[in-house]
Symmetry: C2
Subunit: 119 residues, 2 copies
């Protein structure tokens, strides 16, 4: 559950894909395997890296092992990341739709921007 392990785990495309797959709920290992062209042991190894990082947990049901995303671990990354993001954009709300064409172009630089002052 260290930032080291978490950020390393996320630095691999297959592992990011697994995390995305588990976003809406648990899934047995075999269903995860199916989504890849890699051999099962390769993905099994990725799963164990995710588990060691605390990013997933497992439960066994009969012969199946269900993997679930441990969103708490992702919070660690968010917590590291948040203070590094760009400062709040002074214009929080975009101009109303009808006036958009004439309104100055204001780029919302960061999805968390409008919340930063509350953080």
């Amino acid at each position: 559950m260290t930032i080291e392990a978490i950020s390393k785990a996320i630095g691999d495309e297959s592992r990011r894909k697994i995390i995305e797959m588990l976003k809406d709920g648990e899934m047995p290992a075999s269903s995860i395997f199916d989504q890849f062209d890699y051999a099962a042991p390769t993905i099994s190894r990725h799963l164990s890296v995710l588990k060691e990082a605390g990013l997933v947990t497992t439960r066994r049901n009969g012969v199946f092992i269900y993997y679930a995303l441990e969103k708490e671990a992702l919070n660690q990354l968010a917590t590291w990341l948040y203070p590094l993001l760009p400062p709040t954009n002074p214009v929080a709300k975009p101009a109303p739709k009808e006036r958009v064409a004439r309104a100055p172009k204001v780029k919302i630089e960061n999805p968390f921007d409008k919340f930063q002052s509350e953080f």
Copy 2:
């Protein structure tokens, strides 16, 4: 500036440390080197990885090359991360201090929680 390059870049401790060092403003390469026990070329290479990922930019002033954090690039990671975080905690505000002992323990699971409905 791909999520692939950004997340790989962040998966190294020295590079995360560099990012943190640049949080409050630019810094010449030599000042960055000084903060590490590694040889200068090693850190120089880390800087180039960060640059290739779009996480830093450089400007030269005389013999010095200043590195600056490109916070925009960090947004890409935040944007990937955000939808994966735990759902909003229904109790946004903790109980007032005097009542904390008696109030039910509510764990704020995610620093972005209270903003999610606005996102």
